[in-house]
């Protein structure tokens, strides 16, 4: 889920709003109010970008399914029965916070956030930029590498497929290490610019 919406939001105020809203949702226990908030967040998310909402919804649904299964199991073990009311409230809270955060993360102006962090400390700005790059790029690199090995290696049977997976993982790890080395090269040759505030 690396789709960015068309309207980019101011990072700091957005982060503050998301944190305050999430805390409010977590400590709120009124079912009706929670329901209203949940609907409101859904509307905001759809309004920001339907495309991003669809992608987020898939992820949140999967998370909710896993969460519900775990909750049912733990309630049976601890309480001996299933408390549907509690489960409903928790799922509402969980999905509201998840949809809100994921929608906003996709719409934050990351470069502005890096600039803000950089003003606090150049190293903080660089670390943030590099972590975002890694988070975005590593899954893409893995997809390319695994597909490349699938195309280029001669794969005839099940054992070959396992060997192919191991090879792709090995190549991916070495490529990631190599990329990190290149990033260090980028740091060193630009250390003077990177450190100026």
């Amino acid at each position: 889920m690396v789709k960015t919406c068309r309207v980019l939001l101011e990072p700091i105020s957005t982060l503050i709003i998301v944190v305050v809203a999430s805390l409010t949702i977590i400590f709120l226990n009124n079912r009706a109010l929670l329901m209203v908030l949940f609907m409101f967040i859904l509307l905001i998310s759809v309004a920001i970008s339907l495309r991003i909402f669809k992608a987020i919804f898939k992820v949140v649904m999967l998370m909710m399914l896993l969460y519900s299964a775990l909750m049912v199991a733990s309630q049976i073990i601890v309480l001996g029965f299933i408390n549907i009311d509690l489960m409903f409230i928790n799922i509402l809270k969980f999905s509201s916070v998840a949809i809100l955060s994921l929608s906003m993360i996709n719409c934050i102006n990351i470069s502005k956030l890096i600039e803000v962090f950089r003003k606090l400390s150049p190293n903080l700005g660089i670390s943030l930029a590099l972590s975002i790059k890694m988070m975005k790029n590593l899954p893409k690199v893995w997809t390319i590498m695994s597909r490349l090995y699938e195309i280029n290696m001669c794969c005839n049977n099940y054992i070959d497929r396992i060997a192919l997976l191991i090879l792709s993982i090995k190549a991916f790890l070495f490529l990631s290490t190599y990329s990190l080395m290149q990033s260090v090269e980028a740091f060193i040759t630009r250390s003077k610019i990177l450190r100026r505030k």
Binding site: A129, K133, I188
Partner: protein
């Protein structure tokens, strides 16, 4: 004019293998110096020594002789921000995931009006990223700028414009620009002097044309009305093409026109937003990507070749294959220590070993000197003799002209070239 860079009797070696021997040059402000040599001659090593990356980052190298920048050692010059480096492998060099994030991280307000700064770096072409890094190096305040293999990245249409700009920028800002390049013939007019690292010739002889078949009987890959859209932007618009067995096809166009995207569709790596792709069941593909250059599981060159030979039941002699691809002297080297050009030759050797029926190569001439290009053309001709299909995407127009069928990709549309 004052001499900024002084190199006297410079020798560089690694693991008792001498890379550069007794090199002496002096470079004045405002000059563009072009360093040339064959694939693996030590051009990148020289740039890394000048920029202080050797020995600051790469510790295994042994340096003899004297080298000074403004009277300082390269390491001191590096720490004072006097030198900048634009590498061959641009993707890994980025700190941010978009050019705008990169600018934010390095604290430059604006740059490069011809590039969409908000696109993810993997959505921009190699050439666009290279030009972006070049621009940020120029405006970053460094006085010595080392540029590695620019012609492998910048398209044929833009080379002159880029070098005219570099020359005037160097003169007006009293910079020194050191360019490592094996295709010196295209930029020699801009070089104040040319430094040869080995005895290889700088002029490329005429390469033979590829002997593709004219009467193609069956189709290997077919595209019908293929569209690719990303973030509301149309990258490919209604591409229709049919590629038969034994055909040699070159797709050319400017940086960022969608060549790599089209190759990814042909290889089945990417799926079209709309349209139809048919890869024949007889087609066994082999893809040599432009990025990543180093896509091998780490081991020696020989081990990687043997691994592919085992998997693909290749019964030929591996030593002979490595010798054909001019890799025999590097057979014990770790693949990640190879130069970009040698790594590309290894990829081509693996394509040969895999015995695939269709070879797809993104930017085949990346990092290759004349001798290596000749090897490549000979190998392509051998592929074609065996009714294999060769598809390449290249911004090297002189290389594209060797192919029987040339397609030009412009504004997302594919046109047959003359």
């Amino acid at each position: 004019m004052s001499k900024i860079v002084k190199v006297h009797n410079l020798s560089v070696s690694v693991n008792n293998h001498e890379i550069i021997k007794d090199l002496s040059i002096e470079i004045s402000e405002g000059e563009i110096i072009c360093v040339t040599g064959s694939t693996g001659a030590g051009k990148t090593t020289f740039l890394r020594v000048v920029t202080g990356l050797i020995p600051e980052l790469y510790k295994d190298f042994k340096i003899d002789g004297e080298i000074s920048i403004f009277g300082l050692s390269p390491s001191e010059a590096l720490h004072r921000g006097l030198v900048a480096y634009v590498p061959q492998d641009v993707y890994s060099f980025f700190i941010g995931s978009t050019p705008r994030e990169e600018l934010a991280a390095i604290g430059i307000e604006s740059c490069c009006s011809d590039i969409d700064l908000d696109k993810d770096i993997d959505r921009l072409s190699d050439g666009q990223l290279y030009r972006f890094l070049l621009n940020t190096a120029l405006v970053g305040g460094a006085k010595v700028i080392a540029i590695d293999e620019p012609l492998s990245h910048i398209d044929w249409w833009s080379v002159e414009k880029v070098f005219e700009y570099l020359k005037s920028f160097a003169e007006s800002n009293k910079l020194v620009i050191i360019v490592a390049e094996h295709r010196i013939d295209l930029i020699k007019n801009f070089c104040s002097s040319i430094v040869k690292l080995d005895a290889s010739t700088t002029e490329c002889p005429n390469l033979p044309k590829l002997g593709a078949r004219n009467n193609v009987t069956s189709t290997a890959i077919e595209l019908r009305d293929v569209h690719i859209t990303y973030n509301y932007e149309h990258i490919l618009k209604g591409i229709t093409m049919s590629i038969g067995f034994g055909e040699a096809i070159a797709i050319t166009g400017r940086n960022g026109c969608g060549k790599t995207t089209l190759l990814n569709i042909l290889a089945g790596i990417a799926k079209p937003s709309k349209g139809f792709v048919n890869i024949s069941k007889r087609t066994k593909l082999f893809m040599v990507p432009q990025n990543p250059v180093y896509w091998f599981p780490s081991a020696s060159v020989e081990d990687v070749a043997k691994l592919f030979a085992r998997k693909c039941k290749f019964d030929g002699n591996i030593e002979n294959v490595l010798s054909v691809f001019n890799l025999d002297r590097d057979s014990k080297k770790n693949v990640y220590s190879l130069s970009v050009g040698k790594a590309r030759l290894l990829s081509m050797a693996l394509a040969h070993i895999s015995n695939s029926s269709t070879i797809i190569v993104d930017e085949p001439t990346l990092g290759l000197d004349c001798k290596s290009k000749k090897i490549l053309v000979d190998i392509f001709n051998k592929f074609l003799e065996n009714e294999k299909t060769v598809i390449v995407a290249t911004h090297d127009l002189s290389f594209a002209k060797l192919f029987n069928t040339v397609y030009i990709l412009e504004k997302g549309k594919l046109m047959k070239g003359q």
